[in-house]
């Protein structure tokens, strides 16, 4: 590969050895207008911290745009620019291309600068998936696309997205008298799709900032490995999931420990389960029942026991039938899918 790929050196970002080794400096600071207990803004903070000062961040429309930066009221210490809802891939590509050209032609100082574009699940898994996919096929540019997934269009009033879990209550899928379950689509497997579909993409990971050290180190690896990389972060959302913000951290832990959100990384094509997910798969800890997770969220308050059982069966299927839990829905045999009537 290297023979044909013309790529510049990246910043050397070794993993943080322990939480106490994490630097004090903040590059995304206070004063944003996100919700109490917003895990996505925690992702912004830790992402900027992991990347450091020589970084340019592009943000596509969504909560982390509208709530983080209102005019004359930004939270960013590093340079930041808005990009359109479906443009996170294009924004990262254009920025990286400009830096590459200007440095090669001696028009600006030659140094590795991190380029990160973030998008929500609406901007990433729905509208922007084409542009992200295209960008991940460009091996010559150093950039990271981070998708913060709060499982709905949370900024615009909680409408369902391709990343909203089955059956969840959103303003576009309200449980009604005739239809209890309005949303019949299963969550799109974005990270798996990106990893499977883009062989030259050297790093794809799923993270959850309830495990901040692991999440930050994934970001540092994605930025230093070189080429275009993709990270999918699951972010509990007190507003759209309807739970007490106090529980934001716990909600992320539950997503992982019930196996609803498997964490893994694909580095140079090698797939590895990570953190708690790896421990569950190795039988070191027991996978919790999904009801522990579902019953703590108002968006599932209309679920009957059948609904909860069905949800559990789909998660079990992911763990027991897929070749690799959570990663890609390849399996050895077809299973009948029996959603509740």
């Amino acid at each position: 590969m290297a023979t044909y790929v013309n790529i510049e050196p990246t910043q050397k970002l070794d993993p943080f050895k322990a939480v106490k080794k994490i630097p004090l400096e903040e590059f995304f600071t206070s004063g944003h207008r996100t919700c109490q207990g917003c895990e996505s803004s925690l992702v912004m903070k830790t992402m900027a911290k992991a990347a450091g000062p020589r970084t340019i961040i592009l943000g596509s429309t969504g909560c982390m745009y509208v709530a983080n930066t209102t005019y004359y009221s930004t939270s960013w210490v590093v340079p930041w620019m808005h990009t359109q809802l479906g443009s996170s891939g294009s924004a990262a590509l254009g920025t990286a291309a400009a830096l590459k050209a200007l440095m090669r032609k001696g028009k600006i100082k030659n140094e590795p600068i991190n380029v990160i574009a973030f998008c929500g699940d609406g901007g990433g898994a729905d509208m922007g998936v084409g542009a992200i996919s295209a960008t991940l096929t460009h091996p010559d540019y150093n950039l990271l696309i981070l998708m913060y997934d709060n499982e709905s269009y949370a900024n615009t009033d909680i409408q369902l997205s391709g990343s909203t879990p089955w059956g969840a209550h959103t303003t576009f899928s309200p449980p009604g008298k005739m239809k209890r379950i309005m949303h019949h689509r299963w969550k799109k497997n974005m990270a798996g799709m990106m990893a499977a579909g883009h062989p030259t993409c050297r790093y794809v990971a799923t993270i959850c900032m309830s495990y901040a050290l692991q999440g930050m180190n994934a970001i540092r690896k994605a930025l230093s490995i070189g080429g275009p990389t993709f990270i999918h972060s699951l972010d509990p959302c007190p507003k759209g999931w309807d739970y007490d913000p106090y529980q934001s951290h716990e909600m992320g832990e539950l997503a992982v420990n019930t196996g609803v959100w498997p964490m893994y990384e694909v580095e140079d094509g090698v797939l590895k389960l990570t953190g708690r997910t790896q421990q569950i798969a190795a039988g070191k800890i027991k996978r919790q029942p999904v009801r522990n997770y579902l019953l703590k969220q108002g968006r599932f308050a209309h679920f009957t026991n059948d609904d909860i059982d069905y949800f559990q069966s789909k998660v079990d299927e992911m763990w027991e039938k897929w070749l690799v839990p959570g990663a890609i829905p390849f399996r050895r045999e077809v299973e009948a899918d029996n959603p509740p009537a």
Binding site: S30, D242, S248
Partner: protein, 390 residues
């Protein structure tokens, strides 16, 4: 020209969105029962709402259509007969999405207008929290645990109808109790709620707040620049890098304090704040690392001091802290300033310990939204009891 009535409901975004909408709609429907036209709207500038960030809902009623139109011609009312604060901590002021700077809770009240607050506090405590006003106004307290729930599951603890009862007593010209009860039956089909409204009507009293009473501070403002003073290309300067700072006791310099956003503070987003026991803190970093608002200043001696400019009161720090009672969320009504707890502790550790014990007594029993299925069913009876007792 007839009479125009304007009522604003100040509430905490998302948590009280449905509550505020219910109250505002019912006001207009009850007035309609009395033959008065009206409109109800949430302020567009406050959306998209965020958990905890103050927002407003308005009900405007006229004795006739032309009078109503006078009210509708304004983007929002410039003065109101009644201001309703459905969370008592909003008495400290309102910093919403719709403007920069902090506005007193009583800002829009007409002379002699009434501020209705749902609270368990005594009137004196609420008066002390609210900014002073140049002319007298009335204060009425609807005794209640401020009602918080989420977007999908509504906590039906009768707060909405009890407010309606209070309005009927304070502004009898607007609508009669009969019309209110008719509306309640039409909207909720619940005789119990109609009774709660009547009880609240009977019990509601108000006291006069004098210009000499209340918080004397002038709330911080933000001047809007002219078009040619603004930067081109929709660009603004980033937040400067933070820096280390000095220990007031030892004068050692170290730690890190992030630069804070100059135009949006979290003073009024909070309904509770963390109180830290620095003596038991094991410096595990979790409160600091997991805080979505980067609100903790890292002190020169490696402790974590929640900066009240930036803390929105989510409670995650308490949730992640591994040491029992090291970080405790305390009801915001307990505080009169936003001073640094760490500096207080450095200057007088014994005094701080006493202060701390005093504060953590009022760990708020209310929850800020849905915690588990069946929770509201457990909480509602207590509220109905309060409604009965008054």
């Amino acid at each position: 020209m007839g009479r125009l009535f304007a009522i604003e409901i100040i509430y905490r975004g998302i948590f009280q969105k449905t509550l505020a909408k219910n109250i505002s709609r019912a006001i207009v429907l009850a007035a309609h029962e009395d033959g008065k036209p009206g409109i109800s709207f949430g302020r567009y500038g406050d959306s998209p709402e965020r958990n905890g960030i103050p927002a407003k809902n308005f009900a405007i009623v006229g004795t006739d259509d032309e009078t109503l139109e006078q009210g509708m011609a304004k983007y929002e009312p410039k003065e109101v007969d009644i201001t309703i604060a459905v969370d008592d901590t909003l008495c400290k002021g309102v910093e919403s999405w719709a403007w920069y700077g902090l506005q007193p809770v009583n800002r829009l009240l007409k002379p002699g207008g009434t501020l209705i607050v749902t609270s368990r506090e005594q009137p004196e405590a609420l008066i002390e929290m609210a900014h002073r006003k140049e002319y007298p106004y009335q204060l009425a307290v609807v005794k209640a645990i401020p009602s918080f729930s989420g977007l999908w599951v509504y906590k039906d603890d009768h707060t909405d109808v009890r407010i309606l009862g209070a309005i009927t007593r304070i502004l009898p010209e607007l609508f009669s109790l009969e019309s209110v009860q008719k509306t309640i039956m039409a909207e909720w089909k619940d005789p119990l709620k109609a009774t709660s409204a009547a009880r609240s009507y009977e019990r509601t009293t108000s006291i006069t707040v004098q210009p000499s009473q209340g918080n004397p501070e002038t709330p911080y403002k933000f001047e809007l620049p002219k078009w040619f003073e603004m930067g081109e290309g929709v660009a603004i300067p980033s937040i400067p890098a933070g820096r280390s700072f000095e220990d007031p006791a030892t004068h050692a310099v170290g730690g890190f304090r992030p630069a804070r956003n100059p135009t949006f503070k979290k003073f009024t987003t909070r309904s509770m704040r963390p109180v830290v026991n620095f003596d038991t803190c094991i410096k595990c970093t979790l409160c600091w690392l997991q805080c979505p608002d980067s609100c903790f200043d890292v002190t020169p001696d490696g402790l974590y001091d929640a900066n009240m400019q930036a803390c929105c009161g989510c409670g995650v720090c308490e949730a992640v802290c591994p040491v029992k009672d090291c970080v405790t969320m305390v009801n915001e009504t307990e505080f009169r300033d936003n001073a640094s707890q760490w500096e207080m502790w450095k200057k007088d550790k014994e005094g701080y310990k006493t202060w701390l014990q005093e504060k953590i007594k009022s760990h708020p029993e209310r929850s800020h939204g849905f915690r588990y299925r069946g929770q509201y069913q457990e909480q509602v009876p207590e509220m109905l009891e309060i409604a009965r007792e008054g």
